[in-house]
Amino acid sequence: MILYIPGNSPVHKADARVKILYLVFFLLILFTKDTLGVILPFSLVTLLLYYTSGISLLRPVRDLGSSWLLLLVPILLHLLVNPSLGLYYGVVSSLFLLNVILLSLLNVYTTEIKSLLQALVFLKVPSELAFMLVISLRFLPLMQEQLTKIRVSQALRGYETKPFSLPIPLIVPLMHSSLKRAMQLAISLESRGFDSEHINIAMELQLSKIDYVLLFLLPLMVFAVF
């Protein structure tokens, strides 16, 4: 499940705001420097970050399951459009996507949801949007669980998913239960005094030495890369 994994690594200890700033910086590099010469060494940085965090690469593999097959789509599309150079561009696009996914997941695995919410609000992301993002992270595992239950109950009634057809018997009950759950959650939150425009969290984010070092290095790296 895509959840925060408690830990004591430097990646875990880094402040949520610093991690978001670095994530944006890394994504900017990936978006602007889309060549194999940049993306390959960059993939090593991603692997190094996972190694430092102590989180196994098997974790995102398990969490996304068969969705990883989508990484093959850019390769196939590029091969169809441009048979001579398609493989090169396809691999670049797939590696780009792989890094984006792995880095985003690492941020979720190593940051407490409350810190993430506070960091987003601090970085002036509209509070409603920040809360929506955090709530969706909380409910993703529940939706996965719900989907498994629906899949089992439909299979018990003889339903089989077919390739290239929309799994309506899975989508409709999932949508129905998710909307119902969203309404119940909204009632529960408002009934406990929640006001999305004025989010108040007792926990305070505090920058440590490592955060100051990372913040000092960030402009230097931006200058060096761009």
């Binding site: 959650l185 009632i187 009934s191 005094g193």
Partner: protein
């Protein structure tokens, strides 16, 4: 006695479907009220009216006047009413949104901008009350359904409201946990808190509440002390079981 909830000629419908019709009800401060009735009779809707979720969040055709703790539910925000009225919904999975047990209990207290040390004290107090203190750093996803229900209740009780509404609080609890929960509710009621519970289990109602309302077809059919209401064989018409202690009385009066 001062009434905390006053409902005058309330009707609520979604399109053409009436959910509540001609409801007149007054609940005094410090009462312990149980609401019973068959599925679809409007019990949960009535609770949502009492804390202003209807008509503020759930839209429909709302007629009549409802005041809760002196606030008109039509003109007050749910977050304002929540300062005095807490609600525990039926499905704990839809209420719990934090990734740590203690954060869930702290949520309402943070919304009230209480100082951090007070939040921690209250979180500890209410987690201990429900035997969840040893799990305070756990992910609520790892709790059993009964523990999740206890957590949802603890997070509402931590707000220390004047009125607490429960929508079938014993539905995910085993019988001994349900008895313990009602013991806590009785203790809260003795402190002067108004407790309103939607409950199917007439045994729990007769042992704990001081007043029972029976709803059917969107209206209040019976209202009175549990010994009088639940001992009547009429309640079987409303989809309720006569509690064991009244069974012989009910048979002889048939």
């Amino acid at each position: 006695m001062v009434d905390v909830i006053n409902i005058c000629n309330l009707s609520f419908s979604y399109g053409k479907r009436d959910v509540l019709k001609g409801i007149n009800l007054s609940i005094d401060r410090g009462e312990f009220v149980g609401i019973a009735g068959p599925v679809g009779s409007g019990k949960s809707t009535l609770l949502l009216v009492m804390n202003g979720v209807i008509p503020n969040m759930i839209r429909g055709n709302f007629k009549g006047a409802v005041t809760t703790c002196g606030m008109d539910v039509k003109t007050s925000k749910v977050s304002e009413i929540s300062r005095k009225v807490g609600i525990v919904l039926q499905d704990p999975n839809s209420q719990i949104f934090s990734l740590r047990v203690r954060d869930e209990v702290a949520f309402a207290l943070e919304n009230r901008k209480l100082p951090k040390d007070q939040i921690e004290k209250k979180v500890d107090k209410y987690l201990k009350l429900f035997g969840l203190h040893s799990m305070k750093d756990e992910n609520p996803n790892n709790l059993s359904e009964g523990q999740k229900q206890k957590l949802a209740i603890a997070s509402t009780l931590a707000m220390e409201p004047e009125v607490i509404l429960f929508d079938e609080p014993s539905s995910s609890l085993d019988s001994s946990s349900a008895i313990k929960l009602y013991k806590i509710l009785r203790a809260l009621n003795r402190k002067g808190i108004t407790v309103i519970v939607v409950e199917h289990d007439t045994e729990l109602l007769v042992e704990n509440v001081k007043r029972v309302l029976v709803l059917k077809d969107s209206t209040i059919k019976l209202d009175g002390p549990p010994e009088k209401i639940l001992s009547s064989p009429k309640i079987e018409k409303y989809g309720l079981k006569v509690p064991c202690m009244f069974k012989s009385t009910a048979r002889s009066s048939r």
